[in-house]
């Protein structure tokens, strides 16, 4: 408590690094929201949404951990807040891309969203190939169960 009046220089450094990271996160959060609102369809909006996940959530969480580690006024809970922020950041770093990837794959496979600015779509070609192969394979099995002649 006696060090409350004169903060360590290291606390200032931690707080300023953290504030820069939170500021970057807030600004990219706003950019991601504008992009999500203005982009034309689902697969284009996916770019904006993942900007909002990593730059808009992961980076400010690490910055909040720095701020909490340098904030004397939080008392004994400063390390709890910092550790919780780092754990949440690691969760988001792993789960965010996994979730949007699963969603994108499901939207493509179920044809819930169109692939609009399309140059080439290898996944669709592969799926069509797989489907025809599957049908051909099952047909062939039925045929082979009918007669093994050739």
């Amino acid at each position: 408590m006696s060090s409350m009046a004169v903060p360590y220089p290291v606390d200032w450094i931690l707080v300023i690094i953290g504030e820069v990271m939170v500021a970057v996160g807030v600004i990219s959060d706003l950019i991601a929201a504008i992009g999500l609102l203005r982009f034309p369809n689902f697969f284009v909006r996916l770019h904006a949404a993942t900007v909002g996940t990593i730059w808009g959530a992961f980076v400010p969480l690490i910055g909040a951990a720095f701020i909490a580690a340098g904030s004397e006024f939080l008392g004994m809970y400063r390390w709890f807040v910092a550790g919780g922020a780092v754990i949440t950041a690691i969760f988001i770093l792993i789960l965010g891309p996994a979730g949007s990837h699963a969603l994108a794959r499901a939207a493509h496979r179920s044809k819930a969203a169109v692939v609009q600015p399309k140059v080439v779509d290898h996944l669709e070609e592969d799926e069509a190939l797989l489907r025809s192969e599957e049908e051909g394979g099952s047909g062939g099995e039925e045929g082979s169960s009918g007669g093994e002649a050739p």
């Binding site: 903060p7 606390d11 707080v15 504030e19 939170v22 500021a23 996160g25 807030v26 600004i27 959060d29 706003l30 991601a32 929201a33 504008i34 999500l36 609102l37 689902f42 909006r45 996916l46 904006a48 949404a49 909002g52 996940t53 808009g56 959530a57 400010p60 969480l61 909040a64 701020i67 909490a68 340098g70 904030s71 004397e72 006024f73 939080l74 008392g75 809970y77 709890f80 807040v81 919780g84 922020a85 754990i87 949440t88 969760f91 988001i92 789960l95 965010g96 996994a98 979730g99 949007s100 699963a102 969603l103 994108a104 794959r105 499901a106 939207a107 496979r109 179920s110 819930a112 969203a113």
Partner: protein, 95 residues
Amino acid sequence: MLGIEGEVVTFILVTVPIYMAAFTLYAVRALKGPTIPDTVLAIDAMTYDLAAFLVVLAIFFRSPILIPTAIVLALWVYALDVYVAKYLEAREMGE
């Protein structure tokens, strides 16, 4: 001079309106998203950012009880992603 506490509190007070603007825009996309993946994607991005915002608010209000809330929120929205992806692919939620 402000000191660390005053500086942090002022900084967070400046960031709150920008967060609110971003949440409003995310909510607009979530409400008017033409397809199901659009809605889920907007809710997804909004909730991850809400988890970050809750941690910032935990510093502002000096209340560490908000930290477990942020962790649980991140985990639940991942569960939402996986459930919706599973439903879209297989048209059933799993037995």
